[in-house]
């Protein structure tokens, strides 16, 4: 009887802790996604500077921006620069798409839709003149700003919802099971 109670109690604690942990991790991921998009915004600004003012080729631009920053996005830029240097005879768009898609395994918290928009950026990079490069990057920055604005506006409530739903869900499940 006593053992059964201990087991039930431990199980309940574990369920609540697990569920709350999941909620908190969702909230943390939300925050990380926002930070990543903010970092990406800064990196795209640097990239724009490299391309328009320093007239740097893509490889150099990605390398310089990648070196100045840290984290999964920095590694993404570094890998892209490396593949451009290797000159294996692939279109830039493909290199970019593959590396953006592969960055999920590298700990990037961005969502599928963020990655899709970022992947599409590669479609117009490189080939056109400097003015078009700038416009293309500015257009992407605008899209990025909208996303960041949206995430920032809902950050507090979303994080609260994630964490409280995690705890409540755990409690609910415990009551159901017990």
């Amino acid at each position: 009887m006593n053992l059964q109670f201990v087991l039930k109690f431990t199980g309940a604690i574990l369920i609540i802790a697990g569920s709350a942990g999941y909620g908190y991790s969702l909230a943390a991921r939300y925050g990380q996604r926002l930070r990543e998009l903010e970092q990406l915004r800064q990196m795209i600004f640097l990239l724009k500077g490299q391309i328009t003012y320093a007239s740097a080729p893509l490889q150099e631009a990605f390398e310089v921006v990648g070196d100045r920053t840290e984290g999964a996005l920095s590694r993404l830029f570094g890998r892209v620069a490396g593949r451009i240097e290797a000159q294996q005879g692939e279109a830039f768009y493909r290199i970019w798409q593959e590396e953006v898609a592969g960055s999920e395994q590298d700990g990037l918290a961005m969502e599928q839709s963020d990655r899709q928009v970022l992947g599409e950026l590669g479609e117009h990079l490189g080939f056109l003149d400097k003015e078009m490069q700038e416009r293309n990057l500015l257009l992407y920055l605008e899209q990025l700003d909208l996303r960041i604005g949206d995430l920032r506006a809902h950050k507090t409530e979303r994080c609260r919802i994630y964490s409280s739903l995690g705890i409540m869900g755990g409690l609910f499940l415990t009551i159901l099971l017990v």
Partner: protein, 321 residues
């Protein structure tokens, strides 16, 4: 990385495969030409050949590999390292210099405004010119360019494709490094079209000597003034002079105590006397040495060397390149 690998990388995948199979010696390759819906051509050892899909050189047009629009587009992307925008200024002039010093001439539809050519689109013609340095090709002429231990103002006169830039490049290298009894001198090079030093990202791909400073892609007139003020060269070297503005800048260089080595298109002193700007320089004896090149027999044949009075210094035509 050898020349073949370095060069093959700039082509589209299919052309890469063909060139990889090619048994030709890339040291002898002078040009590779790509035109949309036209045969892939190679100038090899002064002869033009078609390249076949199997990677052979052929004289028969029907065996040639035909270049498609997509391949040309891909090639442009690879040769610019996916960054055509970074070559905007070069494209305006119609060429791109790539790693290894090779120059890629391009032609297509130009977009012009009141300031001149703004850009080029629908690039449909590519000419890959392989850079060949001929170290030591100036050794034969150099003794004639010094007088009393001092280098003389020198003008190299040559028809196109006779090796004047190659000769100028080696003169610069030897004057800069020092040759025999002559000590090395600081040389300033204004490389308006990246032909002399073939700089790639600021680093000369051709050897121009240890005391040489290069202003890459710089207009000659501004470049000459700038170098004199900033780098205090003893010798200034420029390629293809001839405009009225050049005349003023050259006068400035000569009055500054610098020695000038320049090249010009022409076939003889008489020929350049027909051109009003150059006529003044010849008549007023600005230059102290004239080297005339021709391609009789072989590219880079020195036809004559004259001093400022037109006295022959070099009795027989000797191949030097």
């Amino acid at each position: 990385m050898d020349k073949r690998e370095e060069l093959i990388k700039i082509f589209s995948k299919d052309i890469r495969t063909i060139l990889k199979q090619l048994s030709a010696d890339f040291e002898q390759v002078q040009e590779i030409r790509l035109r949309i819906h036209a045969p892939l051509l190679m100038i090899y050892n002064n002869h033009e050949y078609y390249i076949t899909p199997e990677g052979n050189l052929s004289k028969r047009a029907e065996e040639a590999y035909m270049v498609s629009r997509q391949e040309l587009k891909e090639t442009l992307e690879y040769m610019s390292n996916y960054s055509l925008y970074a070559f905007e200024e070069e494209i305006k002039q119609g060429f791109i210099t790539i790693q290894g010093g090779h120059r890629i001439g391009i032609a297509g539809k130009t977009i012009a405004d009141e300031h001149g050519i703004r850009s080029m689109k629908f690039i449909s013609f590519i000419n890959v010119r392989l850079s060949h340095q001929v170290r030591g090709c100036a050794s034969m002429v150099l003794p004639y360019l010094y007088s009393g231990g001092e280098i003389q103002h020198t003008l190299i006169i040559s028809p196109p494709r006779c090796g004047k830039t190659t000769l100028l490049r080696d003169i610069i290298r030897q004057v800069s490094n020092g040759t025999g009894p002559e000590p090395g001198l600081t040389v300033g090079v204004i490389d308006e079209r990246s032909e002399i030093g073939a700089c790639y990202q600021g680093i000369p791909q051709n050897e121009l000597g240890i005391r040489t400073d290069i202003l890459d892609c710089c207009p000659k007139v501004q470049g000459m003034m700038m170098l004199i003020r900033t780098m205090s060269p003893r010798v200034i070297a420029v390629d293809e002079i001839g405009s009225r503005e050049d005349l003023e800048a050259i006068e400035y260089v000569m009055n500054c105590g610098c020695k000038l080595i320049a090249t010009v298109h022409g076939s003889s002193i008489e020929d350049i006397k027909q051109k009003p700007v150059l006529r003044k320089m010849v008549m007023e004896r600005w230059f102290e040495r004239y080297i005339i090149l021709n391609n009789r027999g072989k590219v880079g044949n020195v036809d004559q060397i004259y001093d400022s009075r037109g006295t022959k210094l070099y009795p027989v035509g000797v191949e030097c390149i």
